[in-house]
Symmetry: C2
Subunit: 114 residues, 2 copies
């Protein structure tokens, strides 16, 4: 087995992960459900600065197609829609915590370097 | 403290992380250096399917600006350039392993669902 072949599986797997979760918003959206369990559309808009209605709808639809989140229509007045992670979506929990931890350290590094 | 305020720091940190590492290629590029220690430009092109010369140059420059990788010019014939992770870049190692692990499971889920 060549050196390149050794880790090809892992490198491809990382690329697959980023295909599903990459982009500016997906991981952030998942993290809101990870931290708060369930979220309405307007909650997510509040949690994430700068995302538009249209963008959020698009991202939620893609996450639902990838079976990472579940959309539930609630019988409220007016009707509201709630999102939560599927069991599969919850498999991202460790990753979410690692990303948060790294981001917090990264901010300290940036501030220290300014 | 409101419910929203509780996890605002973590959610912002995740967004920060994705700002630095998001996009189609950055994490994959970092992972090649994480798995193989040091890489030449042409090694990375071989490791990653589909990235162009121009795109790779751009991504490497941004990773260097963010102090995650180090560029070393080697006194070879012809001169070659080698990249490796900085100490700061190595702080992503756990994250890289988590991403690979999740990607491998994700592929199994996708194959099982087909």
């Amino acid at each position: 087995m060549t050196e390149t072949a050794c880790h090809k599986k892992e490198i491809m797997a990382i690329h697959d992960t980023m295909d599903v979760l990459g982009g500016k918003w997906k991981i952030s959206i998942i993290s809101t459900m990870c931290y708060y369990n369930h979220r309405r559309f307007s909650d997510i808009l509040t949690n994430l600065n700068g995302i538009s209605n249209k963008q959020l709808s698009k991202e939620l639809k893609e996450l639902e197609q990838n079976k990472l989140i579940k959309r539930t229509v609630l019988d409220t007045q007016p009707i509201s829609v709630q999102y939560n992670l599927t069991e599969y979506g919850w498999s991202l929990q460790n990753l979410i915590h690692d990303l948060a931890e790294w981001g917090i350290k990264h901010r300290q590094v940036i501030i220290a370097g300014e």
